[in-house]
Structure formats: structure tokens, C-alpha cells
């Protein structure tokens, strides 16, 4: 039997839950997430690796899910916008986007938030220049970016604070 297959079973952990499905080899990750798993928070914008609306985390790093095959993500972990909040408690980056109104129509927002989470995990609290450079792969046609930049600066600072607190809160001591 030839090894190459036009249809494969993939197992992808999406937001911490294992998903197992048979897909065509050509299925894009964004279609897998939206149409097979049913998570429609990840938007398709340009569909040409430019706009970043479809950004998700693959093993914790931002990628554009319109340019990843589902079979490439087989055996890996994917986090979408639906996987950030802890119950009713928004993720610090989501909270910052709400607080600073980092959106207008909201279409680019899931991708903006996911790209920003990845940036903050890699670089910690971000300066304005780091945000503007780091979000070069995410386009917004409404806001002019000002509030998005403010949100990501605040969100990255909040994420660093949380990470710092949990790092300091070792057994027998640490910040209260």
C-alpha cells in the first residue's frame, strides 16, 4: 500500500481538548478549526498570509492558520481565541483590549489578541516600538492602531506581572 494518502486521521489538541478527525490532506488548519471543530472565533480575512485575522497559537507560538495544513498540526497543540479565558475571567490580554477599546468592528481582534499573547510570551512587557514592530503581521482597517497598541502594552505588562507573581510564589513564601 502506498504511504502517501489524500485523506488522513489527525489528532490535534485544541484549547486543551483532544480532537480526532479524518480530513483531506489539503484541509487548512483554519478550516479544520472553524468547520470541523466548530470554533468560529478564528476569522479568515485575506486568506493570503497577510492580514493575521486567522492567527492562532501552534505549540504556544503565533501562526497564520490559513497557511498551515491541518495535517501539519497533527499531534500538536493549538490555542484559539476561545481557549484564552478562564471561565468568565478574561485573559489579561483580552481584558486589556476591552479596557483600552482596542477594536472597532472586531474582525481582526481574535488574531490581534493571539499574536499579542505570543509576542508577550516571547518578549515580556512590550514597549510601544516593540508592539508596532511585533504586530506587523496583523492588519486593522478601522482603528488606526492607537488603541490596539495601548491595549497590547497594558496586556503584556499584565501578563508579565502574573508570570512574575507565580514565579515568585514558590512553596513557603512569595508575594501574597
Amino acid at each position: 500500500m502506498p504511504r502517501e494518502q489524500s485523506r488522513l486521521d489527525v489528532e490535534i489538541a485544541v484549547n486543551g481538548t483532544s480532537t480526532r478527525n479524518s480530513v483531506e490532506a489539503r484541509t487548512l488548519l483554519v478550516h479544520y478549526l472553524r468547520e470541523v471543530v466548530g470554533l468560529t472565533g478564528t476569522n479568515i480575512g485575506c486568506d493570503t498570509t497577510s492580514c493575521g485575522a486567522c492567527t492562532v497559537l501552534l505549540d504556544g507560538e503565533s501562526v497564520k492558520s490559513c497557511t498551515v495544513l491541518a495535517v501539519q498540526a497533527d499531534g500538536h497543540e493549538v490555542t484559539t481565541i476561545e481557549g484564552l479565558a478562564d471561565g468568565d475571567t478574561l485573559h489579561p490580554m483580552q481584558e486589556a483590549f476591552r479596557e483600552h477599546h482596542g477594536l472597532q468592528c472586531g474582525y481582526c481582534t481574535p488574531g490581534m489578541v493571539m499574536a499579542s499573547v505570543s509576542l508577550a510570551m516571547e518578549q515580556g512587557a512590550l514597549s510601544e516600538a516593540e508592539v508596532r514592530e511585533g504586530l506587523e503581521g496583523n492588519l486593522c482597517r478601522c482603528t488606526g492602531y492607537q488603541n490596539i497598541v495601548a491595549a497590547v502594552m497594558a496586556g503584556s505588562a499584565a501578563m508579565s506581572e502574573v508570570a512574575g507573581v507565580s514565579a515568585n510564589a514558590g512553596p513557603g513564601g512569595g508575594a501574597k
Binding site: P2, R3, A25, R26, G52, S62, L119, G137
Partner: protein, 278 residues
């Protein structure tokens, strides 16, 4: 947009990838990060019927100190080249340029080997590997061979790789503290360069051009002028010599040639000022 249907197979090793390429011939394409290939497949400009995924081949993503050069595995992602302390120290031009490719999401997927194998004259990293005089290591049915960057880029999206060869390693000479510069001129942050320049000084000055012809180009006349002792300004006047850029929405041929002269002058001025922040 969805690619045309294809069959998919994962290579277990570089040799397995070579065997699969030999088995499937012209019908097959290798995929690693897929950030050159998948956009073409979605536009149906590329319609391979077999996709051989090399991304899971173990031990092909690394940066190693090879003495006078760095040895970088073909599957090393742009993000990992960009952030690798050894690269930043020994070949800062490459580390910096890797950080200029696309955007962070693209750099989390795209690989050095993939970028070179694609052979796009508008890509950043081929020009860098040309400027520093790098070597591409290709594995084929007869084992490995080394291809000088100067011999590697043949024509538009065409390289010296045989259809049944896979890039396993890229060797990049250390630049030993020489001045360097990377100039990328584009209209929007994440765009391809309209024109780009990679330059390094030292004992073996190298200057290469992005998007100034059908393949990544060495600016040979500029280098000759430098070796003859020309000033950055005088050497840069030769930047468009022998180039044959295309005209498109962004730039006419004349504008690209003008840009090449301006950007090479800027790059050589930075190189002359020695290493430092760029």
C-alpha cells in the same frame, strides 16, 4: 482558497525524503514550514500531486559552531535563526535579516532551507547567504554534496538542487566582527523588498541584491570597485550594473535601479562605519 487535491506523506529522515522524491519525480514537492509553497498552492500556481512533509525529520533544526563558520540545519526556522545567540554573535547580518522576513507568524513557520530552495529573487535570506559566501549542503541518492551559494541560484524559482535532493544544512562563514548592513525597502512593514541589499565588510567584502533580477544577485561590479579601493559612494554607483529587474505595481525598472544605487550606498556607508547597532 484551497489547494488542489494532493496526497501527503511524512518523510522519516533526509534519506527517506530523497527516496520519496525519487519515487514520485516531478509530481512531488517537499514541504517544511510551507510559507513559500502553500500560498502558491492556494493560488493553484503550484499543483503538486504528492506533498512530502520533511518538517518531522529529526535533527535538521540546529545552529552549530563549525569553527570558521556556522552550520545551520535546513529546517531551522527564521525565528530560531533570528533569536540564536551564536548567529547574533558570529553572523549578525544573518540574524538581523532573518528577523526581517515576513512577520512573526511567518518566522514561526518558515525555514532557512525552504527559503533558499524556493529560490525567489525577492526573498531576503538568499541575498544574505550570497553576500557572506555561504554553502548549501544537499543530500541526494549519492550522498551529500556542497554547493556554493554563487552556483546555487540558477533562475527565477530555480536552483541547482536536483529534483531528488534535499537541503540538509547551510554553512555560513563567520564575519568576525566586520561591519554589515541589511537594507530592505518596502511600502508596508511585512511586504517583500521592492529592492534589498545585504552587505558585509572585512577581508572579503560581499554585496548582494534582493529583487534586482530573475534570481538573487551578487553585486559583482560593486565588490570589484571596493576591492580596488573605491569609496562607498563610488562603488555604489555600480549597484545596478548588469541587473535586469522587473517592473511591477511597486516600481519601474529605472526606479529599482535607482533604489539599488541608493540602498547600496547606504549599506556600504554603514559597513564602513564598522559593527554596531543597525
Amino acid at each position: 482558497m484551497i489547494p488542489a487535491a494532493f496526497s501527503y506523506v511524512r518523510a522519516e529522515s533526509a534519506d527517506d525524503a530523497v527516496a520519496l522524491l525519487a519515487e514520485h519525480g516531478d509530481e512531488a514537492k517537499l514541504i517544511a514550514g510551507g510559507h513559500s509553497l502553500l500560498p502558491l498552492m492556494k493560488l493553484r500556481l503550484a499543483t503538486p500531486t504528492v506533498l512530502i512533509d520533511v518538517a518531522r525529520v529529526p535533527d535538521l533544526a540546529y545552529v552549530r559552531d563549525g569553527g570558521d563558520h556556522l552550520a545551520i540545519g535546513g529546517l531551522t526556522r527564521h525565528h530560531d535563526v533570528e533569536t540564536d545567540p551564536l548567529v547574533r554573535d558570529a553572523v549578525p547580518l544573518l540574524g538581523h535579516a532573518a528577523g526581517q522576513v515576513g512577520d512573526p507568524q511567518v518566522r514561526h513557520r518558515g525555514t532557512l532551507g525552504g527559503s533558499l530552495a524556493h529560490g525567489d529573487p525577492a526573498s531576503d535570506l538568499p541575498a544574505v547567504v550570497l553576500a557572506v559566501g555561504g554553502t548549501i549542503v544537499a543530500r541526494g541518492p549519492q550522498g551529500e554534496r556542497e554547493i556554493a551559494a554563487d552556483d546555487f541560484f540558477v533562475d527565477f524559482l530555480e536552483t541547482a538542487l536536483a529534483p531528488d535532493e534535499v537541503i540538509t544544512e547551510v554553512r555560513v562563514p563567520k564575519t568576525n566582527g566586520a561591519g554589515w548592513a541589511f537594507e530592505k525597502f518596502n511600502r508596508r512593514a511585512q511586504d517583500w523588498a521592492i529592492v534589498g541589499v545585504a552587505a558585509v565588510g572585512g577581508d572579503h567584502p560581499g554585496v548582494a541584491l534582493v529583487n534586482m533580477g530573475s534570481k538573487p544577485l551578487r553585486a559583482a561590479t560593486v565588490e570589484e570597485a571596493l576591492r580596488a579601493g573605491a569609496s562607498p559612494e563610488d562603488a555604489a554607483a555600480h549597484a545596478a550594473d548588469g541587473t535586469d529587474p522587473t517592473a511591477d505595481l511597486n516600481a519601474s525598472v529605472e526606479y529599482r535601479q535607482h533604489l539599488a544605487r541608493v540602498l547600496v550606498r547606504r549599506a556600504l556607508t554603514t559597513v564602513a562605519n564598522g559593527p554596531g547597532e543597525h
